[in-house]
């Protein structure tokens, strides 16, 4: 199976860069998996898990709190809002993220931003339930 270049960058640093076979992530429209030679696509991510199948067969899981995926002919780039290895994610960490989302919702003024904030909050709660933390 052919491989392609994958990068995930958080504002603070480059989280992962290398050749991969496939990457699975949760876009705003649903879960999707990208293989090599995917058509150019720009997708918004929702809070969730990114599964990276590395070329050698190793599997990495990363947690992202929203962001963008940019599938270009040269490879896939994920611009994550916050990213950390799944192993480092625990109940306390996700609770802070949920609290953040809650404050976002509280300070949101317009209807549109309220809707976005509450959507985010729901997604975080869902994720927490899914991970059974």
């Amino acid at each position: 199976m052919s491989s392609f270049h994958f990068e995930i960058v958080a504002p603070e640093k480059l989280m992962f860069s290398g050749s991969v076979q496939s990457v699975t992530f949760a876009s705003s429209e649903g879960e999707m998996t990208v293989f090599a030679n995917h058509a150019p696509l720009m997708a918004m991510l929702k809070p969730g898990i990114i599964t990276v199948n590395e070329e050698g067969g190793a599997v990495q899981k990363l947690f992202v709190k929203g962001g963008f995926a940019d599938v270009a002919p040269t490879g896939l780039t994920v611009l994550a809002e916050t990213a950390l290895p799944l192993a480092d994610l625990n109940a306390a960490a996700i609770d802070t993220h949920i609290a953040d989302a809650q404050t976002d919702l509280d300070v949101a003024k317009t209807l549109e931003s309220k809707r976005l904030a509450s959507e985010k909050l729901d997604q975080m709660r869902e994720l927490k339930a899914a991970l059974a933390l």
Binding site: A10, P11, E29, L41, A43, M44, F68, P73
Partner: protein, 302 residues
């Protein structure tokens, strides 16, 4: 002619100062290493962001009148200057050079009859700017309590800029900070945030990023959910990222400037100690000689 005691005191005081400047230099060197590595770690994100933005901007149909953050309001009457400086002094000309650039910019705009609003990030810039432009300053953001800059420090600033823009408070936004080139060279820089300077940002990023081949217009993107929604989310984020990057570059530049300033100060103190010590020894010897002569001539007189 100062007395011996005066000279001794003087030397002791300069020595104490030298110890302080030396310590500050070493602290700055340690902080610089950290600041530099975090500035470098943040670069990929900003670069990829530039590539993604220029991809997007390229695929948007021209003339469709994209979102305001990308194209501006079409006017040019009110300018917002975001001036990022340090929270502390004693770092050579670091703050002054950023402020000077901002001040020149502001004076130029005012001379053209445009309105200028200023947001100061960092207390030192505020102190210097309020002398001439106090009435223009709309806000001071202090980051004094922040030890390690994180994206969450820059995000509120970015959001504030975007909120002000949507309220129609300004038409053009420019960010002032100091680009970190090396320990001895920091370049005060003005960066236009709104309307987004996508073309240059994209080219620069493409030069270094791997996405060089994925350049503007060459690919037709599918969008999920759709173009306008993604752009509406991506553009404010880009502002925050640019602010974050500016703050990181600033932090590294500040430490670099402080380190070289303190290095100079330590060297100057060393020179001064040497000079004063020579002077002290000379006058001590002169005093001894004088006393000897007095004794000898006294003995001869008998």
């Amino acid at each position: 002619m100062p007395s011996l005691k005066d000279l001794r005191n003087r030397i002791a005081s300069v020595k104490a100062t030298q110890k302080i400047t030396k310590a500050m230099q070493m602290v700055a060197a340690a902080k610089l290493r950290r600041a530099q590595s975090s500035a470098e770690a943040a670069r990929p994100y900003a670069e990829r962001m530039g590539v993604v933005l220029s991809n997007l901007a390229g695929s948007i149909a021209p003339g469709a009148g994209g979102p305001g953050l990308l194209t501006g309001t079409g006017q040019d009457s009110t300018h917002l200057l975001v001036v990022c400086t340090a929270e502390r002094g004693l770092c050579g000309g670091f703050n002054t050079s950023i402020v000077r650039l901002a001040r020149e910019h502001a004076a130029q705009l005012l001379a053209q009859g445009k309105k200028v609003k200023i947001i100061c990030v960092g207390k030192k810039g505020y102190d210097q700017l309020k002398r001439n432009y106090e009435s223009h300053i709309i806000e001071l953001i202090e980051l004094r309590a922040v030890k390690n800059l994180a994206f969450s420090n820059a995000d509120p600033i970015g959001r504030k800029i975007v909120a002000l823009f949507h309220e129609g408070e300004f038409d053009v936004c420019t960010l002032f900070f100091s680009r970190f080139k090396s320990v001895i060279a920091q370049i005060p820089t003005a960066l236009q945030l709104i309307p987004a300077d996508v073309t240059t940002g994209g080219d620069k990023a493409a030069g270094t990023g791997h996405g060089a081949a994925a350049q503007v217009g060459s690919v037709n993107y599918d969008f999920e959910p759709d173009e306008s929604e993604i752009l509406a989310d991506l553009l404010p984020r880009n502002i925050s990222v640019q602010v974050f990057r500016a703050l990181l570059e600033n932090a590294a530049s500040e430490q670099g400037a402080r380190m070289s300033a303190m290095d100079n100060a330590t060297r100057n103190a060393g020179e001064m100690i040497k000079k004063q010590t020579t002077k002290y020894n000379r006058s001590r010897q002169a005093m001894i000689t004088k006393e000897l002569i007095e004794i000898i001539s006294g003995a001869e007189a008998l």
